[in-house]
Amino acid sequence: MPIPLNVLDTRREAREERGPAVPPTEDVREKVFELEAKGEWLVQRVPDPWIGVTTKYGRIKKIPIARTWHHKSCGQCGHIPGYSTAIFWLIRKLGLDYNDPKDQTSCTAWNYYASATSNQGAQAAVAMRNFGAAYESGYFPMIHCGTSYGHYKEVREELVHSAPLRDEVRRICDKLGKPFVMPEEIVHYSEWIYAMRDEFAKRRVLDLSSIDVTVHPACHYHKLVVEDAIYDPDVYGGQRTAVVSSVVTALGANVKDYSTWFDCCGFGFRHILVQRDFTRSFATLRKIDVMREEANPDVVLTHDTGCVTTLDQSQFAARAHKPNVGIPVMSEAQFAALAMGAHPYRVCQLHWHSTEYRPLLEKMGIDWRERWREFEDDLERLKKDDKAYLTWEDADA
């Protein structure tokens, strides 16, 4: 269903009359292939079958459906584990093949943007080591973190434009015994969710027509190397990224607009760790407060690690002086999984979240008391060492 932004209708007409414009930026992927032809590196092809989606300036980006290598996120796995679990659950629910590697490090960009205790060469080498590991596995990288995604796109630009940097990193990869390989596309998990949204909609088991959602687009998804993010003329006239919002409407919930959608969440990279007064103030004053005031949503959905953490965790302290806070926050992956009947604790792991989410679950038609009782039984079994870990079979039992 289109999400209108009425003021843009006239502009759209003018644009249609004018015809397609030449994209203002080069298509870096062409350069990636040129370098392959020169024997500078290998290019890992997007495996078949893939889905074509449209990016900011109308180019087509290939999103692989399966055989994906999951470049996990530090903050998701560490502090919001239901985020990563929900992504894997969605893939499994569709019966698709994937690889969850141990031969993967963080992109280390959170630290880089926080402390600058790294440099261009190291950042590019970390990226290419991970890409090499994906290539060796035969699976195609799918990147869970928005910062990794944005940063890897920056790294790709830098490598394409700098022969000395390529030489430095190639030398390092040789020493590590890793192939020097660039993926054909750099793909964020939220792009896969966007591409697969109709499949999720077909499998939806909850009625979400009464659920109002505000979307926070992640800065490092749409502000870093902007031309590679997904846009759709039917979503806000193509003036905002279409990921997340399109998924919400496909699942039958309602996207609500608010004026500070472009603002960052306040994460700040170093601020969230050592200067949280800024983070808390920004997250509540510029995001949660405004959403409450203008849209009064049931839930905030976003598609990156830092945004979920910041928008969720910042609300506790603000309660002391702000009655207005208290909107649950999660990723669109968790929301889609819930819509498809995923367990709120075994899969979406909502007990790791801070802001009260139980009224939302009730409104979605989920009996959270019963689900929590089941999860407590699981924990008892684990405590008694009846089993070492909760399994995927348990998750869907």
Binding site: W110, F316, H351, Y389
Partner: protein, 229 residues
């Protein structure tokens, strides 16, 4: 007229030396195309709302090569930036946030006191990412580290090992790293830190941390038969 009264005692040659390092970075050219001083970046900037901070001034100082202003920013401003890159909305194609990334690197490389101060309390995070390959771990969720996140942090910390076992993905049963990273993978990461001079950067700002990191890395590297160059 000199607008910047601060750091007047620092010789202009020193300011020039540091500016030259920023300008010499390969990325500088593609992050700055001159500045209209339109302020669009400031309107989009979260840090400008909370600090006396302006991405416009960053772009302005860099394009005019205003050394006193640059030096002041290097010491007093750059650590306020959120690195969100909202300022890439710049109609001129500038990336003030990117300029700040470069300025931060230069300030670390030169061991500036302001950089050391900015990293105070942050060392444990540098240690975590460089030694384990993941930036944050479940066991960092301690009430004394995140008192403002409320009592549920205590609940997580009390149940940590058990709750981690209640995660279906095999790679996520860890408590001291975000996911399980192979030793071979870690060895490769350590080699990257050595070969790209990142360890030398750490030495500039925190000798204690540098020593600990070296110790931790040495063992795995030796086991794998690598001698860092």
């Amino acid at each position: 007229m000199v607008l910047q009264a601060r750091y007047a005692d620092v010789p202009i040659e020193e300011k020039q030396r540091l500016f030259d390092q920023v300008k010499a970075d390969e990325r500088f050219e593609s992050y700055l195309y001159g500045c209209y001083e339109c302020g669009i970046c400031v309107a989009a900037c979260p840090s400008a709302r909370f600090y006396d901070f302006s991405p416009r001034k960053i772009a302005q100082a860099a394009s005019r090569e205003d050394l006193p202003m640059f030096y002041e920013q290097l010491n007093d401003d750059i650590w306020n930036c959120s690195q969100c890159f909202s300022c890439t909305r710049c109609p001129r194609g500038n990336n003030p946030g990117g300029l700040i990334t470069i300025m931060r690197e230069v300030s670390i490389n030169n061991g500036l006191t302001s950089a050391k101060n900015a990293l105070e309390g942050y060392g444990r995070v540098v240690y975590k990412i460089m030694s384990t390959g993941t930036q944050v771990s479940p066991d960092m969720l301690q009430p004394n580290a995140f008192p403002d996140w409320g009592p549920h942090v205590q609940e997580i910390s009390d149940n940590l090992a058990l709750w981690r076992r209640a995660l279906p993905p095999d790679t996520m049963h860890t408590t001291s790293t975000a996911w399980e990273v192979d030793d071979k993978t870690l060895t490769e990461l350590y080699l990257i830190w050595h070969m790209t001079g990142v360890l030398d950067m750490i030495k500039q700002v925190d000798t204690g941390l540098h020593m600990i990191l070296n110790d931790v890395m040495e063992e795995l590297l030796e086991e794998a038969g690598f001698t860092p160059e």
